[in-house]
């Protein structure tokens, strides 16, 4: 099964990851709900993970997949703390709108 991966050029994985990453950036820019923004960050992390795993397989080196594992660890920790902060913000402002959080501007 693994040899059939040669039918797919590595470029395809690079372009797919780039596309997913840019979609994540677009989501961060156009959405105002903080939960959706966090989800778009997760999508960007996943695009990078996919690229690391693809290069790891094409080069026959396991270290890329270990790096993906650590990125998943950090993403899980980030999601837990980020959602905790978000619940606290909601408790104070009764909203998850990120454009309300401009106290540092003035």
């Amino acid at each position: 099964m693994l040899e059939s991966i040669r039918q797919i050029p590595i470029d395809y994985y690079v372009y797919l990851s780039t596309l997913l990453f840019v979609i994540g950036i677009l989501g961060v820019l156009i959405r105002r709900n903080a939960i959706i923004v966090l989800m778009c960050v997760e999508l960007m992390l996943n695009a990078v993970n996919l690229l690391l795993a693809a290069f790891s397989t094409y080069l026959g080196d396991a270290q890329g997949q270990i790096m993906v594992f650590f990125i998943m660890v950090v993403a899980a920790a980030e999601a837990a703390v980020g959602l905790g902060i978000l619940v606290m913000i909601y408790r104070n402002t009764k909203s998850t709108d990120i454009s309300l959080l401009d106290k540092l501007r003035n």
Binding site: I10, T18, C40, N46, T57, L59, F69, M72, V73, D97
Partner: protein, 166 residues
């Protein structure tokens, strides 16, 4: 065959990611993102990274997205209460991210030249091999990841407490 599988999974992941960004209801966004994650897990299986595929489904679809869904339902956010950014801002954001896409694709086009080994090792992505690498070469980062999890857990509990007495 493999190419068609790849293209199908790629189209599914890109379409569901776009639906996630553009859907009005936050709950639908979460469900579309779960579909995207399943498509990416399919890519991992295609790459013979079976450990990553299973861990990806367990961690993302099983833990992180359930956490998102849980917070969303606990805060009771409806679609009609969510404010939208102005059309001008959306246009600017679309142009900016489109320019980034064009720049990245233009910079990467034809520049990727790696030499794949003549005989690919099918055991690279299996649990046996990854476990050995993780507990020999990467044992210190692994322990640090454990400490990071402990710190994140304590931090999340402290941040989420209603009335904190220090």
């Amino acid at each position: 065959m493999t190419l068609y599988l790849f293209l199908t999974l790629a189209v599914v992941s890109v379409i569901t990611a776009l639906l996630m960004v553009f859907s009005k209801s936050p709950v639908r966004s979460v469900l579309y993102l779960i579909l995207t994650f399943f498509a990416i897990a399919g890519q991992y299986i295609l790459l013979n990274a079976q450990f990553l595929a299973v861990v990806h489904i367990i961690v993302y679809a099983g833990a992180i997205m359930v956490l998102f869904l849980f917070v969303l339902m606990m805060l009771n956010l409806n679609s009609d209460t969510e404010p939208q950014k102005s059309t001008v801002w959306k246009l600017i954001a679309g142009i900016a991210s489109g320019l980034l896409l064009v720049t990245l694709v233009g910079a990467l086009r034809g520049s990727i030249q790696i030499s794949t080994p003549a005989k690919l090792d099918g055991r690279v992505g299996l649990v046996e091999n990854l476990g050995r690498v993780l507990f020999t070469d990467f044992v210190v980062p692994f322990e640090i990841a454990g400490i990071l999890f402990l710190a994140a857990m304590v931090g999340a509990v402290l941040v989420g407490k209603r009335d904190l007495q220090v």
